[in-house]
Amino acid sequence: MITTDICVIGAGPVGLFSVFEAGLLKMRCHLVDVLPVIGGQLSEIYPKKPIYDIPGYPEIKAEDLVENLRQQIVPFKPTFSLGERVETLGKSEDGDFLLTTSDRMEIKAKVVVIAGGLGCFEPRKPELARLEYFEGKGVDYIVKDPEKFRSKKLVIAGGGDSALDWAIHLTEIAEQVTLVHRNESFRGAPDSTEKVFHLAKAGRLNLLLNSNLHALEGNGVLKSVDIINKQGVVNRVDADYMIPLFGLSPKLGPIGEWGLNIDKSAIEVNTFDYSTNVPGIYAIGDINTYPGKLKLILCGFHEAALMAQSAFKQVHPNQKLSFKYTTVNGVNAF
């Protein structure tokens, strides 16, 4: 169990900077991020892209901004749970928040700050009747352990790199692999595409192009998948497993189930201190919404500063807060 003053969900630029603002007020932070690295979108999506609207930097590469933020918070010794998602949020007997992560890590904190950006990237699901029913009973969205599919019949759907790569790899392990793609060509890596066509020609891969998933059949567990081609002809393929690989899409995830007021996938906050409707929980950065909201890193930085002032009253209810400039007070490391 980790005990801290503030648990920050999301280690993007705004989550990182909130550690600095909290640190100036002598509050400790633990950060949780579903990504295995800090920096959020800046690290995952556009590390090499220049950003032009960070005050004081006419131009800065996203990855350099993340590195600068990391250095800036070193004095305040933040701790991290990376590659983990916060799954549940509850209250402990003494009134603190109790969070658990996907790796069953427990975090006890007086304040929770959600700096979750776009949310969690989750697998994009095809629109199919009874899809949810078959989840865990034959429908898998990720390949964690290829051995699970040894000597099984698989249907893989999708046309991206991961669909191609898994189709190639799993032909070695599974009894039968069917790859379904709605186009007649692939945009993935040319050598993967070549391999897929080669395997299909050799009869080791059942390649169904210009086709879409149509229906799932089975009683209790998946038995077969109906696939429809552009001419409208339905083809039934035996399947122990179906693996739709349609990429990832940002979703709010478990945050949506914590009783927070949500508007169009964003958390409603009070602009006085960026608090949510649940006392002790704040939302800052791209994940919040309020009249006039701008999804800008610099706005998130401002929100972090105001959040920290308000969070101080939650963490130290009996102490008086006096505002001090860093030029006067410096940065006093923990």
Partner: protein, 104 residues
Amino acid sequence: MIIFDVVDSSGNVRTVEVPEGINLNLMEVLKASEYPILATCGGMALCATCQVEVAQGSENLPSPTDVELDMLDQLPRATTQSRLACQIKIHENLNGAIFNLASA
């Protein structure tokens, strides 16, 4: 004025008028016109929540870039007429187009 039609998820058709020279993309105009488009990623062609089908006038639009095609290629229900609204700049070439949100 640039004038095009939008078909919402219930099949209702509405004409949208946008002044020329406005520096916006179609996703931003649809959001501003109160269509329930999430546009979670803010226009980086990452989330595909602004997917539209161009029912008419697709031949007048600039071809999708590799980034857009890569994203469209991943989507389970995309067709040859599918586009990401965030990648379509508001321009006179949108005049007379019909955008269908039903499949988005």
